[in-house]
């Protein structure tokens, strides 16, 4: 049963990602991406990570993608929709992504399922995923967590600087 769900979700993510890239209308692209994010949330649910699934929907589908839509709607992109090709450097792009694909396939042979940590499925279900994630994030991985928040702070400072530059 789990395999069935995983197969559906994984297949849908692949198909929807392709639709995002090949759709000629940018707003339709964003909508396919919205569906893809929802399917990714489904994948998290399959891994007993309900907190991650909810935050995936809140942050990516509810906030970031809405900002995408905002920008796309405000730009007048009817001209670009008639162009045959959006970018010129596609041979470079194809070779880089092929390289990444080969690297990923090569890394697949090192994939192991026999490693066991303290957080087994039963342990996560007992403490509930939200609590387990909070504990690990704020004790064991405190430093990476703080570094990530610092990176976001830098981005905010940059955005404020760019917005205020015009006013001076």
């Amino acid at each position: 049963m789990v395999e069935l769900f995983f197969g559906y979700l994984a297949g849908a993510v692949v198909v929807l990602s392709l639709l995002v890239v090949f759709s000629r209308n940018a707003v339709h692209s964003v909508l396919w991406m919205l569906l893809m994010f929802l399917h990714m949330a489904g994948l998290y649910l399959l891994l007993n990570a309900e907190f991650l699934a909810a935050t995936q929907v809140i942050v990516y589908a509810g906030a970031i993608l809405v900002l995408f839509l905002f920008v796309i709607m405000l730009l007048n992109i009817t001209e670009e929709m008639r162009l045959e090709q959006f970018t010129v450097g596609w041979p470079m792009g194809v070779s880089v992504s092929l390289g990444v694909l080969i690297a990923m396939l090569a890394a697949l042979s090192g994939f192991r399922t026999d490693l066991k940590g303290p957080w087994s499925i039963e342990a996560v279900e007992r403490t509930t995923h939200t609590k387990a994630l909070g504990k690990v994030l704020y004790t064991e991985y405190m430093l990476p967590f703080e570094i990530a928040s610092l990176v976001l702070l830098v981005a905010i400072v940059g955005a404020v600087y760019l917005a205020k530059k015009r006013l001076r």
Partner: protein, 346 residues
Amino acid sequence: MMKLFELLIQPGSFDILLDILVVVLKIAVVIAVVMLHVAYATYFERKVIGHMQVRMGPREVGPHGLLQPVADMLKLFFKEDIIPARADKPVFYLAPVISLMAALSSLAVIPFFDGFVIADINIGLLFILAVSSLGSYGIVLSGWASNSKYSFLGGLRSMAQVISYEVAMGLSLVGVMIMAGSLNLTEIVRAQASYPAGMFAVPQVLGFFVFIVAAIAETNRAPFDLPEAESELVAGYFVEYSGMRFALFYAAEYIGMIVMGALAVTCFLGGWTVPGFVTAVLPFLEHVPGVVWFIGKLYFIIFFYYWIRATLPRYRYDQLMNIGWKILIPLALVNILITGIAKVIL
């Protein structure tokens, strides 16, 4: 396919089918009751606002106009469904459905009384935040797909408004999460009974205030109804919609109100429970079923929505943004700080 069939004839699968049947029945009951409430919420709103403005409200259809919602529904059913030229048809069709779907699926995690909840999940509160953030897509897409300046402006306004107030609403609920120590709505209701006031609205008065204001803005109600400001945008994002599709948007708005009201009741007003000090004075109140308390509190919140709409004029757009970012979000952060310190000390 064969494997699925084998799964179905296994001994335990009959119980699963029974569980699914129970869930489907629960969904049918909840949707039927909520849709009836939506129909009469429109009647109630017109009556309440009418009386507040010294008018009588609807009186023509049935005694005291009681059949007015039925007449409205019939009229909307038989209206012609007009689609503007050069509209993006698939998105135009989809937008009201997204709105309604987002509003309805929030109902799945709300505990109406002890033990009655369609899906008792650990992250109920986050689920509602996630689904209600999806609801803004319906509004934005309807604004874009209609290919009309009025609806486009309405859509853009709504998007900015929902993003801004979602932050304040999420933060205002953090205090509740800290006090209850859970994201499960049933557990949040149970946790409130152990506090002396019997509801989080008393210790979380700041959070409650921020939540109520943000909930009004999230549901695009007056005085934050800029996305559908009649005097400047005709009707905002759904100006091009007619007939049944317009009715879907209308229903989604009222279901959104009911969901936000129900969330306020479960998180701040003690859900289906009665505060302990009330039953100490009037012990016979313990025999009143929980669903009556829940619905009574919900009606009060919805009446409060109407009251505000009849009292306050619409805000200007910059005032709306100032209230959201400069008042509500700092207030919610202060509330989290106070709650956190209190939780550590006590």
